[in-house]
Amino acid sequence: MNPVYYLYLAALLFTIGAAGVLIRRNAIVVFMCVELMLNACNLAFVTFSRMHGNLDGQIIAFFTMVVAAAEVVVGLAIIVSVFRSRHSASVDDASLMKL
């Protein structure tokens, strides 16, 4: 097996995540799909790091994880505050600018 299969897997996971972001309505699930896309990118970075034999790819994957953590904290806070004001976590309901 060639490590390029890891890249195919990463592409597949990224595609599934992207489709999920477009298809799902629940804001939390949309967020999870974004996480899935970030994870797929990390897998691609780690695989490229192995292919080229240097560690820079892993550093980038590490930074991606940190950014993902920050993004999740802020995003989930936004979802919770939207849920408090609208009593719904559906992204369709947040179509109005004001309540």
Binding site: N26, L36, S81
Partner: protein
């Protein structure tokens, strides 16, 4: 693995087997993240996919990232997701109403096309040989040491900025979820006066406890058999999550009695025949 693996084109058979078994698990987990109806199930599937990815990182020689993936992603981020699912409500299902006509199918089609393009692009690139991380890891005495020497020299500014980003995110989350108190909080004296002068002097009655149900969302029954809403706690009452099983269990009781009567009647007949 250092000199021999340089510019190899094949990994070991064990890794290939691991890839095909766990890769299928990862794809199934990703698909069920998208397709599961309840957010909790999606979160658990995603956690499974992330654990599989951690194993892949370890297999690819990224030992530090593999452990960080488990600790940070499945340990912290997914638990945060589960907390929010609990806050927002487990029962909050997806709305099936389509605001844009045919949007789901268009989105699925776009996803499919995107995936085909991405995979075709990877297929066209010439990626037949790989170097392996043996020399890169050995240079500083290990994977963690190698990463550390890069983070604290070449990427030190990015690392500092990451720290600023994390602090900003923390403050942002606190600001976003902070709620200003609009009315004055009741003090202890007012609360006790309200309690004594209110309608209900003794403690509120306990929720219904049957032989088969002892959950807090089941109301207790009054002597005439009607459920009493007072026994269920206020939060569940406001959410409308009271589970009424009185009719159901009365019917079950009736059926049980009927069956036992039939049984008794049959036994009596048998006894009479025996006499």
């Amino acid at each position: 693995m250092t000199a021999l693996a340089a510019a190899a084109s094949q990994t070991s058979t064990g890794e290939a087997v691991q890839f095909w078994v766990l890769g299928i698990v990862a794809v199934i987990g990703a698909l069920s993240t998208v397709l599961m109806k309840k957010a909790v199930h999606s979160a658990l599937s995603l956690a499974g996919t992330m654990i599989v990815l951690a194993v892949f990182y370890l297999a690819n020689g990224a030992y530090f990232l593999g452990i960080v993936q488990i600790v940070v992603y499945t340990g912290a981020i997914m638990m945060l997701f589960l907390f929010v699912v609990m806050l927002v409500g487990v029962t909050a299902a997806d709305s099936l109403k389509e605001t844009l006509k045919g949007q789901r199918w268009l989105a699925a089609g776009c996803g499919l096309g995107f995936g085909v393009l991405l995979i075709a692009g990877i297929g066209n690139a010439s990626l037949n040989s790989f170097n392996g991380l043996g020399t890169a890891n050995a240079e500083h005495g290990g994977n963690v040491e190698g990463l550390a020497s890069l983070i604290f020299t070449k990427y030190v500014f990015a690392f500092e900025i990451t720290g600023a980003l994390l602090i900003t995110a923390t403050v942002g989350a606190m600001v976003l979820t902070h709620r200003e108190r609009t009315e004055r909080a009741k003090n202890q004296r007012e609360m006790s006066e309200e309690r004594v002068r209110g309608k209900q002097l003794p403690p509120l009655p306990a929720p219904g406890v049957y032989a088969r149900h002892n959950a807090v969302d089941i109301p207790g029954l009054l002597p005439d058999g009607t459920p009493s809403e007072l026994t269920v706690m206020q939060t569940l009452r406001k959410r409308g999550q009271i589970r009424d099983v009185s009719n159901e269990s009365l019917e079950q009781l009736k059926a049980l009695e009927q069956r036992s009567e039939e049984r008794l009647g049959r036994d009596n007949e048998e006894e009479e025949v025996a006499k």
